[in-house]
């Protein structure tokens, strides 16, 4: 971070996880950082962690950039106050839902003030919150969505883009409505659906759960997320989430209709399930549409879905076994696109699934077999 383009001084308002982490990262790049927070405890804690100095109170204080990192429900109001107090500063906020903030700014700011505002959404992990969890690398390698309004100046946009790229983020630019719809689709709706699915496990017997495989684990992993934060996000973005949830309900009704028809035909003729063509077609349709949807998710590096295959390798459950496997892959000079580990319940054996380009798969399989690794069927 020796060549930062961001011009100081920067004022960060709100010294929770995001604000304090921003301070740490900017200061590690030599930027002059000042902090403000309505909680004196949080402010001093952030200062002690090295995130910056409490802001000076004199009228001459003139930051180049103000970053509002308060809770989202007051972000708009805080942005307005900052635009008013610092008539030269560029102002951004890091709330994860953008339309409501932009609305407050549009309705409350003057013509000149509004041009200096650009929204941000750094998509950094937030499983833990609070100043004490601040981390200088919180933003490294994450996507930062820059959300200008139709009134933002090029200078203001550039300033926020420079900030994001100084922090090691990958930049994406979108309007507020477009952003909120996108995060509803790729983040908020999956979160809620995962929770709805995982809630069913409350009724599971212990033995039922012994049959749980990678599919259940994957689909319910994010159901472990922090409810308070996700309630706030869901509430803020309800208008964008609602249509998607209604679509899911439409498809679910269709599926339940088919399942009901099949259950009935089975009880009528219990020795041989009657094949109900219409119901089978309805189920197949749901599964096909799922195939088409998942195929749209870009592969690594944001490109088109890559043509990859999974190679399964049986592992004994000793430290180092996986490392030895990856050394073998390295020696074969094949790049691993992804990797997941599957454990058989109740026993020590594990399976490692190496995701590699289709073009490299046969070569790698032959190589690993020759090196006496035990490949398993996909």
């Amino acid at each position: 971070m020796s060549t930062l383009g961001t011009k100081g001084p920067v004022l960060i308002i709100g010294t929770g996880l995001l604000g304090a982490s921003l301070g740490l990262a900017l200061r590690s790049g030599g930027i002059e950082v000042y902090l403000d927070d309505i909680s004196p405890t949080s402010l001093l804690l952030a200062r002690d962690l090295g995130a910056g100095q409490p802001r000076p109170q004199e009228a001459a204080f003139a930051p180049s950039l103000v970053i509002v990192a308060t809770p989202p429900d007051i972000a708009g109001q805080v942005v307005l106050t900052a635009l008013e107090e610092f008539p030269e500063a560029i102002v951004t906020d890091v709330a994860s839902v953008k339309s409501s903030v932009a609305e407050v700014v549009k309705n409350g700011a003057t013509e000149q003030q509004i041009t200096r505002y650009v929204g941000s959404h750094p998509m950094a992990g937030r499983e833990r919150s609070g100043t004490l969890s601040a981390d200088v690398t919180l933003f490294t390698g994450r996507t930062w969505v820059v959300v200008p309004t139709d009134r933002s100046t090029a200078e203001a946009i550039l300033s926020v883009r420079t900030l994001a790229s100084d922090l090691g983020c990958y930049l994406v630019s979108m309007g507020a409505a477009e952003h909120d719809r996108a995060v509803a689709l790729v983040s908020h709706v999956p979160q809620l659906v995962s929770s709805l699915l995982a809630a069913r496990l409350a009724e599971a017997g212990d033995l039922d759960l012994e049959l749980a495989g990678g599919g259940l684990r994957d689909t319910t992993r994010i159901a472990a997320s922090e409810p308070r934060m996700w309630t706030a996000i869901t509430m803020a973005n309800a208008p964008q989430i609602l249509p998607f949830m209604k679509e899911i309900r439409g498809d679910l009704d269709y599926l339940i209709g088919a399942l009901g028809e099949l259950s009935e035909s089975e009880s009528l003729s219990s020795t041989q399930a009657t094949v109900t063509i219409g119901a089978g077609g309805a189920i197949a349709k749901v599964l096909h549409e799922g195939n088409e949807g998942v195929a749209r998710i870009p592969g690594k590096h944001g490109g088109a879905p890559q043509s990859t295959v999974e190679i399964g390798v049986a592992l004994t459950d000793r430290p180092g076994e996986l490392s030895r496997l990856l050394q073998a892959v390295e020696t074969a000079q094949v790049n691993i696109e992804d990797l997941r580990i599957e454990h058989a319940p109740g026993q020590a054996l594990g399976l490692a699934w190496l995701v590699v380009a289709k073009t490299k798969a046969q070569y790698l399989m032959d190589y690993l077999e020759a090196a006496e690794w035990r490949l398993v069927a996909a």
Copy 2:
């Protein structure tokens, strides 16, 4: 496989992926295996792969064990025929839904025949089907559910348990109804929900999908499964799947009600989202129930959920980087419970998330930092 307990000869009826893989595995352990299939092509292909010999047609042929590995909709009928033709043999089938098969057997078999039947569900991956995909390791490390009827003899049950354990499987025992309910909950319902969620992505813009993170990828991974096989499974187990899907619809209706209330209040007072306490509570309830459900999934080795944490490490996207990281972990003598890789779209940097026991986390983090790995915040 030098000490197999299974007594031959074994007759396998149906030489697709499962049947041919069973033949390969049993023969690799020195068991005498015979094959049957209504498709002569599939039968000869399985023989040429080394899965066994076509069954002799003479009356003296008397297998000790018959494994029915036909498509599930005819499995019951084929079990009946086998019980009739081989009056001394133990007969099992490997269909993934058990009640319908058991029903056919109970309704069609004599008192003596019924005692020799025990159902099986080897939970082996089946993304690809067909004889040519057969693999001697298909069952290694997988769970095999043994599903006796209330009439199965101890000898018949032992014979099927021995088969499963010879194949390297982890054994679970359940009744047919209990089995079908369990797989509905931990496998069929997650599959359908994942498909319903992924179907929404058909409407996504390319830019929307650039915001996709690990949560979307995890929740929709199994939506890429083969629709034909899953349609058959869903149809066969509709009566067990239906109640869970109805429960999800109930919760979804509740959530949609809350989202609707919030969307309305926002449009009434667009400058400041009105906090609707009831609606927020409804959303929080759904998220909390998700937390409780996911906490019930057993950790590695089938035990209680383990106390693990994720440690994030930034990686450059070169072959060998991950291997070097795991070597470092090995040198630190810490066992990795799980591992996942996250790629930032559009850039080469990746994050590796090491899942380790909570008790080892601080030590490993200190160790990796000392070795100059770049740790990132969770």
